[in-house]
């Protein structure tokens, strides 16, 4: 077939499509939406992955590290190299760290490990080699961007610049455990370097060991436990004590040979990400490896070879990152799959409708002598032209759509001002185009071959016969749709009873020896439930859309406005075969948009709840040292109340815990959600809390309660260590307390393995720790304060006032942070849910227009006859409205119910993804905003009715003579 023939054929096909636009609408809509969704999700996921990776690189402390190859070179050699690379534009900053990169020295039969450890002798004399591993850094560490990554969560500062006095920066866990604060002086710290046989015949035997002692070490900073990009950089994990490298020079002459022998230092390099191709991981790796070799080149020694060896640290991150990406892709696919199925159905049924419309035409062609091949060629060519048009529009829409989704800062909230972000989406993505085109083209081709053949093979007489028999599908004929819906609804109900309301408690399942957390149960209930409910609801939709209007026909048709056209409406209601497929699509799409809407709102609510939980009041202010600052805070007129949040470390049996002190009079005005409280309500527990008794009362976290097998009414012993610096004696003290409540989470970020007590109890504990030498007045000291503002106060202005307080370190403002929720990295979940919501809404409205147009086209003659016998335009519109309103209302209600069921069934899946992505520990409880659901349904209903009424316009305006003419 020559090119001219192809063009000619395409031109004729295009002409035919233009003349019969209506019958092609559903099919082209399916093609556009299908290509748009598939390519859109690929574009969006790729951009998201890039953004996530950029975020990882940006937040990583360093990307490259070097260690010395030969033991003759030590820390100073690395420091020299660091000076040499200072001016390299590819490098943002560098420093040298001496610390625990576990070195393994292989001997013939034994392998050795070097450990650095410290002993906070005075404070923790019972421990031997403690977990408080020291890390020695150069004084420039304070100024590098490397320290910036953990400095953001530091009380005090990362001040290790003194080379004369001993300073340390300690983790929060140590500060809490030993009641240290910024400015505290630790009298003795022993640093031990030990070479131990790790494996082999002499395993466990220390080979060499050297210790030196630091005296009067000042705590200059206290940092939060986790640091580093998603905690993936092990070097900055918790329990590290930071010291200036100069300390090794002053005291470590005995340990330095061992440290050098084990090459326990490394040069940490933070790259300048602007100089690297962050968007292409492979290329970026090559560029980093080039940098590594360039630096290695600079460190060439006498041997003529390099003296240092570099490691691309980012490369190690790629593994987990790629796993994360794969999981995100799986998650995206699961979310997008229903939409793709929907679009393919729209395409398939659109094709069927178009062929149905042409049945007579095909029959006439056959009568004229056209053979099957010629007719099939005509159908195929038109489909291909439609596909080309649809795919082009679809791909262009996908770029725009992916950008809109990528701009989502929350569910249905967008930030479209970022034009740089738009540029990320607009580049041509071959993978997206090819994948989407191939999939949709494959489905179209299969359908054209299959359905095209069916129509062509019809007998001529059958083809030209008016009317078509409506055949019920397999599922409806065998009533399987009812079974599927019942199964899905039951699965949803079980989900609600077990997970949402926890109607059945853990003891019940233990009694019946059944565990609902197993994979099989998840498969049977959640997985099958979702599929059955979604498809079953859509298939049974037509059944319900017929039954309900039939039952309510009498009442409905007696309405005054409908009385004059009641007979005509009844005739139309009986002819419901036309509308079966429209109902199917409406239920399919509306259930998805309902699911997306509910989960979007739930997601937003969870993000807000998590913020509120972490902050606990209007503000959470942290100071660098512990003292009472309530008066300082109350000086601002906008402040309503202040609550100190003092803490004490304690143990119960073998569980370590933190006891938080709270003021019972203020607790009820904190952001303590009722759902966080178990067994007894928050109100009851608070009432009990306020009542003084012989035994102090506490509320404990549910995790701790489980570990201790403790419940309401139990008495437990809180154990604290007494420090007696004078006598150098340590002992323990106990305080018996009574449990009056359990909580999942408490305000201020108090988690499930903590305890909440009142101030008297905290004072008593602190007094015990101080061996009863402590005297407090009413002013209980604390680092952290929870503050509530008065109504109507400018919270941002008040926040600025707080930052000027002496010792101020950090502030959290719940109102500001809730408004900024969307700016956090939510891994695109709000965007994806928005995409589901919008796409399903668009699909349902397009389907409504396409189907209504075709259905009304079929009824043109009937409407013409009615006008001929005296029906006015208004009466025709009323007829169309009356026939369709009940059916569409039923579809909308049924689709919403199905969507509700799907939301509950999929809630566990969303919760799993959220937990996996580290989005907080609060339980994910469905939030039903009824006005959102109603608006959702109304949009569809109004859209459908508008589509119907608009389609009737052409009937009302038609040439009556032509329509009533005998064919």
């Amino acid at each position: 077939m020559g090119i001219m023939n192809i063009l000619d054929s395409a031109f004729h096909s295009f002409q035919s499509i233009l003349r019969n636009k209506r019958r092609s609408t559903a099919m082209i809509a399916g093609i556009i939406l299908g290509v748009s969704i598939l390519s859109g999700i690929i574009i969006y996921t790729e951009v998201l992955q890039q953004e996530n990776f950029e975020s990882i690189v940006d937040s990583a402390e360093y990307e490259v590290s070097f260690k010395v190859i030969e033991s003759i070179h030590g820390e100073s050699h690395l420091w020299d190299v660091s000076s040499l690379i200072q001016n390299d534009v590819r490098i943002e900053s560098s420093t040298v760290i001496t610390g625990p990169r576990t070195s393994v020295f292989d001997n013939e039969k034994n392998s050795f490990v070097l450990t650095l450890s410290s002993e906070l002798e005075d404070l923790d004399p019972e421990s031997e080699l403690s977990a408080f591993t020291p890390l020695f850094v150069r004084d420039n560490f304070t100024d590098t961007s490397i320290s910036d990554k953990i400095t953001s969560s530091i009380v005090g500062s990362f001040n290790l610049t003194s080379t004369e006095t001993n300073q340390t920066v300690i983790p929060e866990i140590i500060a809490t455990q030993f009641n240290l604060q910024v400015g505290s002086i630790i009298e003795h710290i022993n640093i031990t370097v030990a070479e131990t046989v790790e494996r082999g015949p002499s395993a466990g035997v220390p080979a060499k060991s050297e210790t030196f002692t630091l005296e009067n070490v000042e705590v200059t900073g206290i940092y939060s436990s986790s640091g580093g990009a998603a905690g993936l950089f092990a070097n900055f994990e918790s329990s590290k004590l930071y010291f200036n490298t100069a300390i090794l020079d002053r005291f470590g002459e005995n340990v330095m040979p061992l440290i050098n022998e084990y090459k326990y230092q490394y040069l940490a390099v933070k790259i300048n990400s602007n100089e690297f191709t962050i968007t292409d991981l492979d290329l970026m790796n090559t560029e980093i490896n080039t940098l590594i070799n360039d630096i290695s080149q600079l460190a060439i020694g006498e041997s003529g070879d390099t003296t240092i060896e570099g490691t691309n640290e980012i490369e190690q991150l790629l593994g987990p990152f790629e796993i994360l990406n794969v999981l995100l892709i799986i998650f995206d696919v699961i979310l997008v799959l229903p939409l793709v199925i929907l679009c393919l159905y729209l395409l398939s049924f659109g094709l069927e409708l178009a062929l149905e419309e042409r049945k007579r035409e095909i029959g006439i062609f056959k009568v004229q002598g056209a053979d099957s091949k010629q007719i099939f060629t005509m159908i195929r060519n038109e489909s291909l032209v439609l596909f080309s048009l649809g795919a082009t529009i679809g791909y262009l829409s996908s770029i725009f759509g992916a950008w809109i989704i990528g701009s989502a800062t929350g569910f249905m909230e967008f930030d479209l001002d970022n034009i740089n972000q738009f540029n990320q989406f607009v580049s041509f993505n071959v993978a997206a185009l090819v994948t989407s085109v191939l999939i949709i083209l494959a489905v179209l081709t299969i359908n054209v071959y299959k359905k095209g053949r069916e129509f062509i093979d019809l007998e001529v007489t059958e083809a030209v016969q008016r009317g078509s028999k409506i055949k019920k599908g397999f599922f409806r004929r065998n009533n399987l749709d009812i079974f599927m819906v019942a199964y899905g609804l039951l699965a949803g109900l079980i989900n609600i009873l077990i997970w949402e309301t926890q109607f059945f408690e853990a003891e019940f399942f233990k009694k019946i020896n059944f565990d609902p957390n197993t994979f099989i149960w998840t498969l049977i209930i959640d997985f099958l439930g979702i599929i059955f409910l979604w498809l079953g609801a859509a298939i049974s939709g037509a059944r319900i859309a017929k039954w309900l209007p039939q039952k309510s026909e009498r009442l409905f048709l007696s309405l005054p406005k409908l009385k004059n056209v009641a007979l005509i409406i009844r005739s139309g209601l009986k002819r419901r075969g036309d509308i079966d497929n429209l109902v199917f699509i409406i239920v399919l799409t509306l259930s998805i948009s309902t699911l997306a809407g509910i989960q979007g709102v739930t997601d937003q609510a969870l993000a807000e709840d998590t913020l509120e939980y972490n902050i606990g009041a209007d503000y959470k202010i942290t100071f660098s040292s512990r003292s009472n600052r309530s008066a300082d805070i109350m000086q601002y007129t906008g402040v309503k109340e202040v609550m100190e949040l003092p803490t004490v470390s304690a143990s119960v049996l073998s569980s370590s815990t933190t006891v938080y002190g709270m003021n019972p009079d203020i607790i009820s005005s904190l952001l303590w959600h009722d759902l966080g409280f178990e067994e007894v309500s928050l109100e009851k527990a608070l009432a009990d809390f306020k009542v003084k008794g012989d035994i102090p009362k506490v509320m404990i976290g549910t995790l701790l309660a489980e570990e201790l097998t403790a419940s309401i009414g139990d008495e437990i012993n809180l154990r604290v260590k007494i420090a007696d610096p004078v006598e150098n004696v340590t002992d323990i003290a106990r305080l018996k307390v009574k449990v009056i409540g359990t909580f999942n989470h408490a305000p201020g970020g108090v988690d499930q393995d903590s305890i909440v007590a009142n101030y008297d109890t905290i004072t008593e504990l602190q007094s015990l720790i101080a061996n009863n030498t402590l005297v407090y007045d009413d002013q209980i000291p604390a680092n952290t304060y929870l503050v509530n503002a008065k109504n109507g106060v400018d919270k941002n202005a008040l926040e600025r006032d707080f930052t000027s307080l002496e010792g101020y370190n950090e502030i959290r403002n719940v109102e500001r942070e809730i408004s900024e929720i969307g700016q956090e990295n939510n891994y695109g979940i709000p965007g994806l849910l928005t995409m589901m919501y919008l796409t399903s809404l668009i699909a349902s409205i397009i389907s409504a227009f396409a189907f209504s147009a075709i259905i009304m086209e079929r009824r043109k003659r009937e409407f013409a006859v009615l006008q001929t016998v005296g029906a006015t335009s208004t009466q025709i519109y009323t007829t169309a409205f009356g026939e369709n309103f009940l059916v569409m209302l039923t579809s909308v209600i049924w689709g919403t119910i199905a969507g509700l069921g799907l939301s509950y069934l999929m809630n566990g899946f969303f919760a799993f993804i959220g937990e996996f992505l580290g989005r907080g520990e609060l339980p994910r409880t469905i939030v039903l905003e009824w006005n959102t659901l109603i608006i959702n349904g109304l949009i569809i209903l109004v859209g459908m009715l508008s589509a119907t009424l608009i389609s009737v316009i052409s009937s009302v305006r038609q040439d009556l003579t032509e329509a009533t003419r005998t064919i």
Partner: protein, 231 residues
């Protein structure tokens, strides 16, 4: 009998585009009680003339009066009311609504005019009795024969007591016996004073009318007394 003028056209023209003039100066008068057959070759403009007289389309030039009232400048709603109250349409294909019974189809114009309930039912039943179909009143139209369906269509056309009946090939899909019964109904209606205008190709049936008009090339070329029409 009242011989009031029911339909009058004066110099009626109808063009479909610049090169297609279907009616060329038709002057026509139909009085009450007239049963007129309109004949002519295919494409002569018979249906076009019928459609203009039935207020479905407007003429390009000339005057059309229905019951003494010019319909040239009536708006769409007014034309609809004319069709509802003054004209009864009968089609070759019957054009009854599926899924409704015979009596329900007859009641449609009554409902459209605001008469519902028992009144409408009674009137519709009387009309069906008139066309000898009372016993099939509650049968769906699909279950009726062609002749029966056409009689239901006639009953429907009479629902709002129109003065004028327009029939476009009413016997085209019927056998000769059924066709004759339809013509007899028309004759009865004419006797009652209604004006019946029928388009037909059937010469024998056309002979049953009081007058036969022949349209040729858009002009009313002959007015023949029915007895003179050759079979």
């Amino acid at each position: 009998m009242n011989t009031e003028l029911k339909i009058q056209t004066t110099d009626l023209y109808k063009d479909f585009g610049p090169d297609v003039q279907v009616l060329k100066g038709i002057d026509l008068k139909i009085k009450s009680g007239d049963f007129i057959a309109l004949m002519g070759p295919s494409g002569s403009g018979k249906s076009t003339l019928l459609n203009i007289l039935g207020a479905l389309i407007r003429g390009t030039e000339g005057e059309v009066e229905i019951n003494g009232r010019s319909i040239n400048n009536l708006n769409k709603k007014e034309l609809t009311l004319i069709r509802r109250h003054e004209i009864g349409w009968i089609f070759q294909d019957f054009n009854l609504l599926q899924n409704l019974t015979a009596i329900e189809n007859v009641m449609i114009p009554l409902h459209l005019d605001g008469m519902t309930g028992k009144n409408a039912t009674e009137k519709a039943m009387k009309l069906l009795e008139r066309v000898d179909l009372a016993d099939r009143a509650h049968h769906l139209t699909d279950a009726l024969s062609g002749g029966q369906q056409q009689r239901v269509a006639i009953a429907r056309a009479l629902a709002n007591d129109p003065d004028i009946i327009l029939a476009d090939e009413p016997t085209g899909n019927l056998d000769s016996e059924s066709g004759k019964s339809i013509i007899n109904l028309f004759l009865e209606l004419a006797k009652e004073g209604k004006s019946v205008l029928m388009v037909s190709h059937d010469v024998a049936l056309a002979n049953s009318a009081h007058k036969v008009y022949v349209l040729q090339n858009g002009k009313l070329v002959e007015e023949i007394d029915s007895m003179e029409v050759e079979i």
